[in-house]
């Protein structure tokens, strides 16, 4: 990846058809990188403003759901001067085709970036049966 280019400002993408929300507010799609090795699938998601208490990761059947709530930032006495981005929820779902070892899933949230490691379930290892003679 070349690091020399300049970052462009992007508006956060709103989820086009989220499940009906019970509370008003924006719902955004976090940007993710997904990579796979032989052992695991790793997902990296940008979710600025979300802390570990407000992040929900759910893997059910084959569906992985990420949802997080960025906390409203303003104190009551602050007045808006210029608002370029909105804050709200993050929501995204993925279908996972691999068999995941649920007990070893790891989630790390650092500086607004979620790192989710989904280890693939070990395939049934051929078991060697040694025969001992009496």
């Amino acid at each position: 990846m070349s690091d020399s280019k300049d970052l462009q400002a992007k508006e956060k993408k709103e989820v086009s058809s989220p499940a009906e929300q019970t509370t008003p507010g924006f719902v955004f799609t976090p940007e993710v990188d997904i990579l796979e090795t032989e052992e695991a699938i790793t997902l990296l998601a940008d979710m600025p403003g979300v802390n570990s208490e407000n992040l929900d990761i759910d893997l059910r059947e084959n569906t992985l759901t990420l949802s997080g709530v960025a906390q409203p930032f303003e104190a009551a006495d602050e007045e808006d001067v210029m608002i370029e981005y909105e804050i709200g929820k993050y929501y995204r779902q993925f279908t996972i085709s691999e068999v995941i070892d649920q007990s070893k899933i790891e989630a790390l949230l650092n500086d607004g970036v979620l790192r989710l490691t989904l280890p693939k379930a070990e395939k049934a290892q051929p078991r060697k049966i040694s025969v001992t003679t009496a």
Partner: protein, 147 residues
Amino acid sequence: MIYRRFFNFPESRLRSPFAELDGLRRQIDLLAGKSIPAKAGVFPLINLTENNDNYYVRAELPGIKADELDIEAEGNKISISGERKIPSENEKAKYHRIEREAGKFSRIISLQTDIDSDKIDATLKDGILKLTIPKSEKSKPKQITVH
């Protein structure tokens, strides 16, 4: 405070009566199947708020460490620059999606009143940069009591 809303921020996108029109236009564009061009802006996008004592600048900078950020104040201008690096992963890894971007950024914000640039405070938490910029004594609004 009101006067400033009308005059002093020509370049900012205020929540103006036109915002509603913009929203309407967006809806019409959507109906017409047009793609909406991303608004040109400089990374990082910034929210600027104020109270009587301070300006607050907030920017979303996920994955950026404090030492990768360079913040300078000169006169009533604040510059925020740095580089977002995305460390490369295991070489054997196959990428299925790459949406996050790395790169350099630099932005200057000019404020309309004098600030106390020695007392600017910056914190970085959960990927959000927050600058607390005290207004200088003379530009703070004065409370006048009526006797």
